[in-house]
Subunit: 219 residues, 2 copies
DNA sequence: CTCCTTTCAGAACAAAAGTTTGACACATCG
DNA sequence: CGATGTGTCAAACTTTTGTTCTGAAAGGAG
């Protein structure tokens, strides 16, 4: 009985470490768990039963998770570089930063505030080439775009009739609806208090189309 | 012939995306690849051969790696190298999932849809005990809340006059403005076509206050 | 040297999971 | 209307892989 504890710690320790190392290596390299027979070859053992015993021991030691019956189901339970960190941003989520404020009469500022950035699913906005602008003013109130809203703008050079777009008029940025009046292109505010602005290509430039809106001041 | 390209993209696209999503989800959750039969159950297919075909297609599309014969050997071949998308969610960002649709006359569904969840900064909404509801109907159009908008609701039992809240009337959920009429509490729609609803504590229950709004259908 | 314990090997077994086949439903096209 | 193709399903079939069993080699202890 006294000899039991000594031998289990001494002789097998080497092999068990080799097995563990190999499992680590395999998962690291192949991003999938090795089979028992893989480990046989990799750790220099010729018997599946031996490997089986070691895997069980490693499970008891808490180093791996070895679910009975499941194929290639070893997962490393280490604190280190495991394959599934608690939570990370899915690949289809993109972070947008607010570039500045947009209105009739205010130019775009380079991002003034770190805290004004949001995470948005790519699939929702259809592209990851987007940016954020904060609305100043009420010129689009009839389109239900309010002062303080954040607009998600998908970058594009042109637009269709009826699109709500962000545009540069001279060096001022605004959000308006694009349309035609008497065959001429105009930028229409959605507020009776403002007048349509002729869209002439010399001074005007389409920044992008409004594809989303975030509002955090509800009243 | 002309229709070929369309049909191959349309009908199977839904299912293949469902399969892909499930594989992603499974691997994320369990850190090991699902079996074909797992995917059957998870993606609503009843035949292993269908799944098999989809997996092959996904392999061809370069989205996954599917080695023939190997058990549980699907690995995601994401655009960004491996499993770790370098960037992780900052501590002050919380993920909200859409619980269902809210309107005059429709109960809350608890449908879990991957695509309908957003990441939002805690600091913006002031709390992490929030949830998401999708607006159905136009009863709050004068408050610039439209059909299809996603509302961020901060859970709370009571509210102040003037707050826009999500409330349960009987077993129907709606969003309305809370206020008083002749000393009695009412839920006010913001649309002339609807009438205020008396708020009696026997049938009505405050779910929470609307603190944010996301809109992805701009028109 | 014999007994005992530990460890490994080889084989056999059982179950899980990948693969294939054929059939049916449905739509599209000529 | 029939021909073709696609998507799905059900049921086999095959392979891989986890598990167990028995026995043999190795090394100490008495």
């Amino acid at each position: 009985m006294a000899a039991t504890s000594r031998s289990t710690e001494s002789k097998s320790a080497k092999t068990i470490e080799r097995v563990y190392k190999y499992v680590q290596k395999y998962i690291h390299e192949n991003a999938l768990s090795p089979s028992v027979r893989d480990i046989c070859a990799g750790a220099g053992l010729k018997s599946t039963s031996s490997v089986h015993a070691y895997l069980r021991k490693l499970d008891e030691m808490g180093l791996i998770e070895y679910r009975p019956g499941m194929r290639r189901a070893i997962i490393l339970k280490n604190t280190e570089g495991s394959e599934a960190p608690s939570e990370s941003i899915p690949a289809d989520v993109v972070r947008l930063t607010c570039l500045g404020k947009i209105t009739a009469g205010v130019p775009i500022y380079a991002h003034e505030d770190e805290s004004e950035s949001f995470y948005i699913n790519k699939s929702i906005i259809g592209s990851n080439d987007c940016f954020l602008l904060k609305v100043k003013g009420t010129s689009m109130i009839n389109a239900h775009i309010l002062d303080g809203d954040y607009l998600i703008i998908r970058k594009q050079d042109s637009c269709d009739e009826g699109d709500i777009i962000a545009a540069l008029i001279g060096d001022e940025a605004t959000v308006k609806r694009y349309g035609y009046l008497n065959g001429q292109p105009y930028l229409f505010p959605e507020n009776e208090l403002y007048s349509p602005i002729p869209f002439n290509t010399a001074e005007c430039k389409v920044l992008g189309k409004v594809v989303g809106l975030h509002r955090y001041s509800i009243s």
